[in-house]
């Protein structure tokens, strides 16, 4: 391997087919290695953020709140409280004397001002260090204001994003069991692990409703406190993005016996299988559901397939790279690229588990680079080595691709295009096609080499002087 690879990270990179599959993961990021990962706070914030009628107060210095202000494309069909950035903006004196008083004052002021249905209070690194008793303040304000005020224990240094997901799940779980469930149908479900980026959850809800299912709670895209409070009344939990909300599903299973199916809404097979899995679950209660679901899928595919085959003509044989937050999304993306006639040469994630990577390795082609917790040096090295046509990742990966003259598709929580469902597969294919087929790649140094002379020796032969 190249000198780009850090000695300490060698076992976090695997080339499919070169020896038995073994990949180290779930490890702390290497100091100084410019990891693409974020922190515990980030994990909690991304999961809870789309609950639109709750107040999200970041207890910490200004940066943590400022950098997460309205960056996601998580849409709401009603209130938009989630799009504001609230912070206690801790100052030096608060650090010395404690921030509890300020937190209390901030919560009281903001709840009076915005009348939210609940408040989430996120702790940041510094709050963990100075030891503010978040729970006590939240309890006091909750009693005074008569709404749930929930501490989210998300001190940034306590691990990586996964710990933040768990903290978010714990926080949501405290809401559950409090709402009225009397009008919930026996054929009902909660959508977990979807964040309604560009309205995606509305696409998925519509499918379920066409199948004859009541959707009780969106967790958390277009989310509402009241829906989450009665989510325990639903017959089934459908979990996408399992890394972020599987913990919540487990808690609900233990406490309320709610069964779980794990799905993905990306790509054709996974989207269809998501609907079929749900239909199978309800087949005893509603014997016609499976037929209705098949009709739905058929109808959607009849529209989608002809369009995809148009794209495929151009994209056949092109190569892609994938680097995403959770590994689960990578499976769907690999299959989606295959529908476009494309292969995947690099597949990686920030926070994959051993099981994720096993599965990833099993569906990858030989020669594919599988990588955990990568950094710009490694990513750029493999992008170049594999000479890919498009890289799928998040906002921090984009400039790496663009700088090297490689196409890019944004597939993280900041995107503003709906990529889920059958229509999402079309949007994805359209974006991949537009990107890969752009003429600009012909002119970038990667393909065209140097355009101008760098020394006298390089001057054109006809140079007269």
């Amino acid at each position: 391997m190249s000198d780009i690879i850090f000695e300490e990270r060698k076992d976090q990179i695997h080339v499919k087919g070169e020896g038995p599959f073994k990949l180290a993961c779930n490890r702390d990021s290497l100091a100084g290695a410019v990891s693409q990962r974020a922190c515990v706070f980030c994990g909690s914030r991304v999961v809870l953020y789309p609950i639109a009628d709750a107040l999200h107060l970041v207890h910490g210095p200004i940066g943590c709140a400022a950098y997460t202000w309205d960056i996601r494309g998580a849409l709401s069909s009603g209130p938009e409280l989630h799009r504001l950035s609230f912070s206690t903006d801790l100052q030096e004196t608060d650090v010395i004397f404690g921030g509890e008083k300020k937190l209390y004052a901030a919560l009281t002021e903001l709840i009076d001002r915005h009348q939210p249905k609940a408040a989430f209070v996120y702790s940041t690194c510094i709050v963990g260090i100075i030891g503010d008793d978040l729970a006590a303040v939240c309890k006091k304000v909750s009693a005074e204001k008569g709404i749930p005020v929930i501490p989210v224990q998300s001190e940034g240094f306590k691990g990586n994003k996964r710990e933040g997901y768990l903290a978010a799940c714990k926080a949501m779980f405290t809401l559950m069991g409090t709402g009225d469930t009397s009008d919930i149908s026996p054929i009902s479900l909660n959508i977990l692990g979807d964040f309604n980026l560009a309205g995606e959850i509305w696409i998925i809800r519509e499918y379920f409703e066409r199948m004859g299912i009541q959707v009780v709670a969106n967790i958390t895209g277009d989310g509402r406190v009241g829906d989450i409070a009665r989510a325990h009344g639903a017959a089934l939990n459908v979990v996408q993005c399992s890394g972020s909300t599987m913990d919540l599903a487990k808690m609900m299973k233990d406490a309320y016996g709610t069964p779980v199916v794990k799905v993905s809404y990306f790509g054709i097979e996974d989207m269809a299988e998501a609907l079929y899995a749900v239909a199978r679950f309800f087949k005893d209660k509603d014997p016609d559901m499976l037929a209705r679901t098949q009709a739905l899928v058929k109808e959607e595919l009849a529209v989608l397939y002809p369009k995809l085959s148009q794209f495929r003509k151009d994209l056949e044989g092109k190569k892609a790279a994938i680097y995403v937050g959770g590994a689960f999304k990578a499976f769907s993306l690999i299959k989606a690229f295959r529908h476009l006639g494309m292969s995947v040469a690099i597949a990686g994630s920030q926070t994959g588990t051993p099981e994720d990577y096993e599965e990833l390795a099993s569906i990858c082609d030989p020669g594919t680079i599988i990588i955990d917790d990568a950094n710009p040096l490694e990513l750029s090295h493999y992008l170049k080595e594999k000479d890919v046509d498009i890289f799928v990742g998040g906002v921090k990966e984009r400039p790496i691709a663009f700088k090297l003259g490689v196409g890019f598709c944004d597939h993280n929580h900041e995107r503003k295009e709906a990529l889920e469902g059958f229509v999402g597969m079309y949007n994805f294919a359209l974006e991949v096609h537009r990107t890969v087929m752009s003429p600009v790649w012909r002119f970038v140094p990667r393909r065209a080499g140097k355009a101008l002379a760098e020394s006298l020796d390089d001057l054109p032969k006809e140079c007269a002087l």
Binding site: I4, L30, A31, G32, A33, V34, S35, Q36, A38, C39, V40, F41, C42, L57, P61, I62, G63, A65, A66, Y67, W69, L84, S85, F86, S87, T88, D89, L90, E92, T93, D94, V95, K102, A106, E109, L110, T124, I126, I129, I130, G156, F157, K158, G159, P376, L377, S380, K384, V395, R398, P399, I400, F402, K403, L404, G405, V444, P445, G449, K450
Partner: protein, 475 residues
């Protein structure tokens, strides 16, 4: 029945509520939609502007990642920030070992020519002694010939990203500059300006026959060319060698009207003046006519050359455009917000062209904003703008709705307010992440003023055009 004093108290409260925007009373309660960012972010930008420089945050992983993505959204360039990636254990036992290991990793894999270490709220609070750890590090690895490491204390629970920026510039000068080398290059500390501004400044200095050591210079590192191989550290940046010679420079130009008082060593320019006797030219950001004139006068005196004809023509064209454009903008009311030095410059410029700045607001708390704004507006506007320090967008929005400006002048974060009020937002400064090319916007000198003027005038023309029932195609 209410007593007289009760009524007076109630009236005072009402007055206070309805009156001009004042800084929140201390201790203020909460911030909604901040008009500032945290201190370490400013420091990372400075370190990115040094040749071979790698910014390094001593803290937990999230800080580096968040700041990277925030900066990337504006510059659309890679922004590698290394981190100590501190976890729970280090938070308890101290982050020293991680810092040392991280530095070695960066030197080894990135081949860093300089590493700039900024602290975060975490490491400031657990009390890591960064200068001490660095001293140990240099001792332990002396045989490796380690790259220079500069450190700056940037606790994010005090001040703004601009204070982090200024502190990092000062730290670089403090820890690297000497008076040993001979140099003819003048120093320039421009503050947080765009990549295009830095390139333009170099041209301006060159047209007076001057070489300038501009610190920081991210004009290439954060706005570089397409490349064949990923550059671990992009080319460009202020050369460390030039920084080392800053103590022997014939003069320093330092921009900023809300920095510390001249003569104090709280800024890089002040420090070089007091330590090495480098003459300091403290000026406002050269935005608009008068501040640029002041800069050019200063350039004439340092270079002993008259303003070159090319620049004089730029000035003449700008004045010509002042006249051509005045009817479109005269007595239009605008709200200006953002970083303090930038908004002082913008206010000065708007006042010159007859725009009435009705509110000038920033998230910083230098205590010097109001005086600087007053000085910029003196004699040009019918009444002084309201000036607000330490405010957020909740406050700005509240006041702007009452003041009903014709347009906003500031960064992207004012967009929702401008949209709600259905008036144009002319985007300047940082961050601009809802438009293309923010890093290539020019704000400085006659040309920057020209381009900004064109944009403001066109915003007014467009508003009139789209708002008319006729659809004038000739306006």
């Amino acid at each position: 029945m209410s007593s007289q004093s009760d009524i007076a108290d109630a009236t005072a409260v009402l007055d206070a509520e309805a009156g001009p925007l004042k800084p929140k009373p201390e201790p203020f309660v909460s911030t909604t939609n901040a008009c500032k960012l945290c201190k370490p972010l400013g420091a990372t930008l400075v370190f990115k502007g040094i040749e071979g420089g790698v910014p390094y945050l001593h803290g937990s992983q999230g800080c580096a990642t968040y700041m990277r993505r925030y900066i990337i959204s504006h510059f659309r360039e890679p922004m590698d920030i290394a981190s100590s990636s501190l976890g729970e254990k280090q938070a308890i036992y101290g982050g020293g070992p991680n810092l040392k290991k991280g530095l070695l990793t960066v030197m080894d894999k990135y081949g860093a020519g300089m590493i700039g270490v900024a602290t975060t709220c975490l490491t400031e609070t657990i009390g890591d002694d960064v200068p001490g750890i660095l001293m140990e590090f240099r001792r332990e690895f002396a045989d490796l010939g380690v790259a220079p490491v500069v450190n700056v204390s940037t606790p994010s629970y005090s001040g703004t990203h601009m204070e982090g920026f200024t502190a990092a510039v000062r730290a670089v000068a403090d820890q690297l500059a000497t008076a040993d080398a001979k140099t003819a290059a003048v120093n320039c500390f421009p503050g947080f300006v765009s990549c295009e501004d830095i390139r333009h400044l170099k041209d301006v200095f060159a047209s007076f026959g001057l070489t300038a050591t501009i610190l920081p210079d991210y004009s290439e590192t954060l706005d570089g060319p397409a490349v064949e191989d990923y550059e671990k550290i992009p080319s460009g940046g202020t050369p460390v060698k030039a920084i080392k010679a800053m103590g022997a420079a014939p003069a320093t130009f330092e921009f900023g009207r809300t920095l510390s008082e001249p003569g104090e060593a709280a800024t890089a320019g002040g420090l070089l003046a007091s330590r090495f006797g480098v003459p300091l030219k403290r000026l406002g950001l050269p935005i608009g006519l008068r501040e640029t004139d002041a800069f050019f006068k200063s350039l004439e005196s340092v270079s002993c050359k008259p303003t070159p004809r090319r620049r004089a023509l730029e000035r003449g064209r700008l004045l010509d455009a002042f006249v051509d454009g005045h009817k479109y903008v005269s007595q239009k009311r605008c709200v200006i917000y953002g970083e303090e030095d930038l908004i002082v410059g913008l206010t000065s410029f708007m006042a010159e062209i007859g725009v009435i700045p009705v509110l000038v607001a920033g998230g910083g708390r230098s205590g010097r904003l109001e005086k600087a704004v007053r000085a910029a507006c003196e004699g040009l506007v019918p009444e002084m703008p309201e000036v607000a320090e330490g405010v957020d967008f909740y406050d700005i929005a509240d006041r702007a709705r009452e003041l009903a400006p014709d347009f906003f002048l500031g960064h992207s974060k004012g967009y929702r307010l401008a949209r709600e009020m259905n008036v144009p937002l002319v985007r300047v400064g940082f961050p601009i992440h809802d438009r293309f090319g923010g890093q290539r916007l020019r704000h400085l000198c006659y040309q920057g003023a020209q381009e900004l003027l064109d944009r403001v005038v066109n915003a007014m023309i467009e508003t009139k055009q789209t708002g008319s029932d006729i659809g004038y195609g000739y306006i």
